[in-house]
């Protein structure tokens, strides 16, 4: 069981009741049964049944305004790095296959596929009409070449792709490191979407239903845009979409300024929207899990020691009191606890794993998080607060002390520290600090693929599957809320809860 997508319509009138229903359904999902999403709107053309959040209006609008909880950086494309980029890039770029919200494999850039050599190689036949935004035909060699560059290269290695062969313009053979009975889901990973660098724009050209029409100038010294305007690309239909970043008090103003769709985790905004009858509020799936990666815990586990887990009620209390946004204590199972068949992990383990220096560092110790992530910040600060408490008088402190070796009792001060993205990535890679609060996906396409990606971000984590399962300390799950103007636009969700304006799914047959 790899997916626990949950879509619930939450009206302002019966929100609590609906939440209760959501919890019940979620528990069913967690025990392995895959119920269909809660009763939603009726069918939408091109969208899988059950994946529609909102039906299309009687008359399609010319443009839709979507507010997102963050900026959009074209240099990240096609691999999203935050919730806003996940939404935008999903409209712009296309993977070979797609996985819908009901975990079904759907054609994407490839219209068909079949296994070769007992599942060690997979042949994909590209869509006949596949073109980039500018009308350039997509070729198999072009798709394979896009996988060789930068971040995509890292992802193809993590995905276990050995090599590719473009038999013709439309026929791409991908050789895998191990046999797959079914088509590997990693081909639906956004990072492996087809994209071609553009000489006159920072935006790589994609094959998705939308193309970039315009974007706001990045702030000085930055590359991220606060607004991106996209319009239907070659052969596609649908309304233009204005994506814009929203944050703080301004977010509520957007609701008054005619925004059609708003994605947020801000409780104040959600409460405000609930008072506006023209908006409907939908809780999306729990799609992020914040975990604590402790260098001392890795040291302990490697030394054949044991480290206890954190009790669920404690995590719920932390999610309730310490974290901003919509959060809950993490609910098992966790995808990293099911790594037994991952040959990819074994590959990561080849060679001696690096020593996490943070476990042996003297002086002030830091629990670090990425700046701009309020959930991670709240968690880090709560752990620091507990580290200063008397474990004899605080069950929370005692539980954390048992889970994180060296958290209490050390003379060196413990502090929470937010780091810029690059600095954070560098520290995480080397294990330079005491512990890290990191967000990982709640749902993954392939646990082996995602654990490989995580270990490539934090090499000091490399160990066997059982060790990995025990060193990752899950804390809380989070999700976004979708606030949509009633009847303004058709909305659907993807396999990981990413929201799609219905026009983005027109090719899904």
């Amino acid at each position: 069981m790899r997916f626990s997508l949950l879509c619930v319509i939450r009206s302002s009138a019966g929100r609590l009741h609906v939440l209760a229903a959501v919890a019940a359904v979620a528990s069913l999902v967690m025990v392995g049964c895959r119920p269909p999403p809660q009763a939603g709107p009726g069918p939408v053309a091109g969208v899988a049944e059950g994946c529609v959040i909102q039906l299309p209006p009687a008359e399609l609008p010319n443009a839709v305004s979507v507010a997102l909880p963050g900026e959009i950086d074209p240099t990240h494309a096609p691999q999203p790095e935050n919730a806003a980029e996940r939404v935008v890039f999903r409209h712009l770029y296309e993977t070979l296959i797609r996985v819908d919200c009901r975990d079904r494999i759907r054609p994407g850039l490839a219209e068909s596929w079949h296994a070769r050599d007992g599942g060690r190689a997979w042949e994909f036949v590209l869509r006949k009409d596949a073109r980039f935004w500018d009308g350039t035909p997509v070729t198999a060699a072009g798709v394979a070449a896009g996988w060789q560059s930068g971040a995509a290269g890292t992802r193809t290695r993590a995905a276990g792709l050995d090599s590719t062969d473009a038999e013709s313009d439309r026929r791409l053979i991908v050789y895998m490191g191990r046999p797959h009975r079914d088509v590997p889901r990693v081909f639906a990973d956004p990072g492996l979407a087809a994209a071609r660098p553009s000489a006159d724009s920072p935006w790589p050209r994609g094959t998705g239903p939308y193309g970039v029409e315009g974007y706001s100038e990045p702030a000085e010294g930055g590359t991220a845009a606060r607004a991106v305007n996209v319009s239907p690309a070659w052969g596609a239909e649908g309304p233009d979409i204005d994506f814009r970043a929203a944050s703080g008090a301004e977010t509520r103003d957007l609701l008054e300024d005619g925004v059609d769709v708003l994605l947020t985790a801000d409780r104040a905004v959600i409460e405000y929207a609930a008072t506006r009858p023209q908006f409907v509020d939908t809780a999306l799936a729990w799609n992020r899990t914040y975990v604590l990666l402790s260098t001392t815990r890795v040291r302990e586990v490697r030394g054949a020691g044991t480290a206890s887990a954190l009790p669920a009620d404690l995590l719920d209390a932390i999610a309730r009191d310490a974290v901003s946004g919509d959060a809950r204590g993490h609910r098992p199972p966790s995808w990293w606890e099911d790594l037994g068949s991952c040959s990819g992990v074994a590959r990561v383990l080849s060679g001696l794993p690096p020593v996490p220096r943070g476990a042996y560092r003297s002086g002030p110790r830091r629990i670090v998080y990425a700046l701009g992530d309020p959930v991670a910040r709240g968690l880090a600060e709560r752990i620091v607060a507990l580290a200063g408490a008397d474990p004899g008088g605080s069950a929370e402190a005692a539980a954390f002390a048992a889970a994180v070796p060296g958290l209490l009792g050390a003379d060196a001060r413990l502090l929470a520290q937010g780091l810029e993205q690059e600095e954070f990535a560098a520290s995480l890679r080397e294990g330079d600090d005491f512990a890290y609060v990191v967000a990982v996906p709640r749902q993954v396409l392939d646990p082996c693929f995602d654990i490989s990606l995580l270990v490539s971000r934090a090499e000091w984590l490399a160990m066997d599957a059982a060790g990995l399962a025990s060193v990752i300390i899950p804390l809380v799950d989070t999700r976004q809320q979708l606030i949509a103007r009633r009847g303004a636009v058709a909305l659907a969700v993807d396999w990981d809860g990413t929201v799609l304006v219905a026009g983005a799914a027109v090719r899904e047959k």
Binding site: R267, G378, A385, G388, G393
Partner: protein, 606 residues
């Protein structure tokens, strides 16, 4: 140590001592005045800080009182804190943070009666922490205010905090609030103290956890640093002026109150810089003064010692053969008097030397007479013997007389020749000076007349009017002038030039009158080295010269009790040449220059 060195040393000391004394006095005075000014500034700032802390404390108290009222009136807070309604828990947890933003406090936490933090503004997620000691210790503080170290998720900070309390539904709650006492707070205190006073002061907060300064420097673990309290302190070696103010500090972790210190320090770098500047300028002044003193001393010592050196040089030249050194001086000072005394002494030496020479001459003449007697006898004895032989032959054998005479005639001739030769030789031994009044002008005129036409030289005369008579042998006088004129003509080296012979009467006050004979040429002149040796025997610069002409002149002039000197300048340009100046006494001969009677016995004139 030479006279010049002593003079230099004396000058330097005399100039430098006042400069040094002045510089030290200025340095000390400036230092003491600035230090006093700094002390007043530091004391003022300490007073201002004391007032500021009091004002801050009152402002915190007023804020907490207002906040307390707001809390009591807030139903959602009541539901969260008293009724523990779960839906209001987040509101409760965020309550202190929102209030802190509104009140401007840097630290705010609400604790229940057990000391449990139910809401914290500066560390939002520190909720549920038990900390009963802090409000109790704060409440026990005189004035209710103290420094505390407020925890945050990142770096703890110091806060000036107060405590207040309120009751709600029969339960007590503490309000602990305060303002940051970090670098900006200290900088503000320092800035306020600096207004109207002197800037550059630093306010530091020394507490058990470390030291904070208004300049932004932070050190940890320096709280045990010893310090002087209550009185400013500074000395030459210290780098700052310090005064301190004690403030209570609550160490909540240990549950005790200790003393922190607000230290006001004024860096003495400005004073040190001023002192260094004074020192540098002092050194410059000393060096300049020393240099000027050295120059002045050198100039003065040169002025003083140069004539002395000159006198010493002239004196070193005096010996019995050279008593013609000119010690005349126009100076009116002691050196002039000394020079004239040396001149008089030389004059007396010259007279004495004349007498000594006379005595020597007489002694020599006696010896010479005996030698002449002996030599003449040697010449006469053969003649006498021949005559005795002829007399005997005339008496005994007259017939043989012609033959014998013829035989012995050679002996007589040779004896006579011997005697004649002897006479000639003795006549050449010494010129006989027959002293008589001689007109220098007449002799000079004759010499010049005879010399004209002997070469390309133009001979001119510039003779004084009237007769200029000296007592001398006219032959000697002519020889003196002739030698000088010949020397002058030869210095022209067969090229056209001018030789001028001039005479001049000298009637010096208190001195015996004399005549000056000057023979000047426009030749190549002489170097210093040549001037030193020009009157030495056998010294010549010309090929084929005997080197005796000028030495004879000098000797003859000395015999006439006169003096001779030469002035010359060697130069590439002709026309400068040399000037030989002979001065001979006019009128009656000098005591040592009386013509000796024995001179005639010397035979012949030179």
């Amino acid at each position: 140590m030479s006279f010049r060195a002593r003079l230099l040393l004396a000058f330097v000391v005399v100039f430098l001592i006042p400069v040094i004394v002045l510089a030290l006095a200025v340095r000390k005075e400036v230092g003491s005045r600035l230090t006093a000014q700094y002390e007043r500034s530091v004391a003022s700032l300490v007073a201002v800080i004391e007032d500021d802390l009091e004002t801050e404390s009152e402002a915190i108290a007023a804020t907490l009182a207002a906040f307390k009222q707001a809390v009591v009136d807030d139903n959602r807070f009541r539901m969260g804190a008293v009724d523990r309604v779960a839906s209001e828990r987040r509101y409760l947890l965020d309550y202190a943070g929102r209030a802190m933003q509104l009140t401007g406090l840097s630290m705010l936490q609400i604790q229940d009666e057990s000391g449990r933090i139910i809401s914290s503004g500066h560390f939002r997620n520190e909720y549920d922490r038990l900390e009963p000691g802090l409000p109790e210790l704060l409440a026990a503080m005189p004035g209710g205010v103290a420094l505390v170290q407020a925890r945050t998720p990142e770096v703890p900070f110091l806060a000036l905090a107060r405590v207040d309390s309120f009751s709600m539904a029969g339960r007590s709650f503490w309000l602990v609030g305060g303002v940051s006492a970090e670098q900006r707070f200290l900088a503000r205190l320092a800035r306020e103290g600096g207004v109207g006073g002197m800037g550059g002061m630093t306010v530091s907060l020394i507490y058990p956890g470390g030291v904070l300064t208004s300049g932004g420097e932070t050190t940890t673990g320096a709280g045990s640093e010893s310090s002087r309290s209550g009185e400013p302190a500074s000395d030459e070696a210290s780098s700052e002026l310090v005064e301190e103010l004690e403030v209570p500090f609550i160490d909540a972790a240990r549950g005790e109150t200790v003393t922190a210190r607000v230290r006001v320090s004024h860096p003495l770098t400005e004073l040190h810089a001023l002192r260094r500047s004074i020192d540098i300028w002092f050194l410059v002044a000393v060096a300049t003064t020393g240099f000027v003193a050295l120059l002045l001393a050198t100039w003065l010592s040169s002025r003083i010692s140069r004539p002395l050196v000159e006198l010493a040089r002239k004196t070193s030249r005096i010996d019995l053969d050279r008593l013609d050194v000119d010690f005349r001086s126009a100076r009116k000072d002691e050196i002039g008097a000394l020079s004239r005394l040396l001149g008089a002494m030389t004059e007396r030496l010259r007279a004495s030397a004349g007498r000594i020479k006379e005595a020597e001459r007489r002694a020599t003449l006696g010896e010479l007479a005996r030698q002449v007697n002996h030599d003449i006898k040697n010449g006469l004895i053969p003649i006498r013997n021949v005559f005795r032989h002829l007399e005997r032959m005339a008496r005994d054998e007259p017939k043989r007389l012609p033959g014998v005479f013829a035989e012995r005639r050679g002996t007589i001739d040779s004896s006579i020749a011997y005697l004649e030769n002897l006479a000639s030789n003795y006549a050449r031994l010494y010129p006989r000076i027959e002293r008589q009044p001689c007109d220098v002008n007449a002799i000079a005129r004759r010499v010049v007349t005879d010399a004209r036409g002997s070469g390309p030289a133009s001979l001119e005369m510039d003779l004084c009017e009237g007769a200029a008579e000296v007592v001398s042998d006219p032959v000697v006088l002519r020889r003196i002038i002739e030698n000088l004129v010949d020397n002058a003509i030869e210095s022209l080296e067969s090229r056209p030039g001018r030789v001028t012979v001039s005479t001049e009467r000298l009637d010096e006050d208190g001195e015996r009158a004399s005549v000056r004979i000057t023979v000047a040429d426009t030749g190549i002149g002489m170097s210093e080295e040549e001037l030193e040796k020009i009157f030495d025997d056998f010294y010549t610069t010309r090929e084929g010269g005997t080197g005796l002409g000028l030495s004879i002149v000098r000797r003859l002039v000395m015999d006439l009790n006169g003096s001779v000197k030469v002035e010359s300048e060697r130069g590439r340009e002709r026309g400068r040449g040399s000037r030989f100046i002979v001065e001979l006494p006019l009128g009656s001969p000098a005591p040592g220059a009386q013509p000796a009677r024995g001179d005639k016995a010397g035979g012949g004139r030179a």
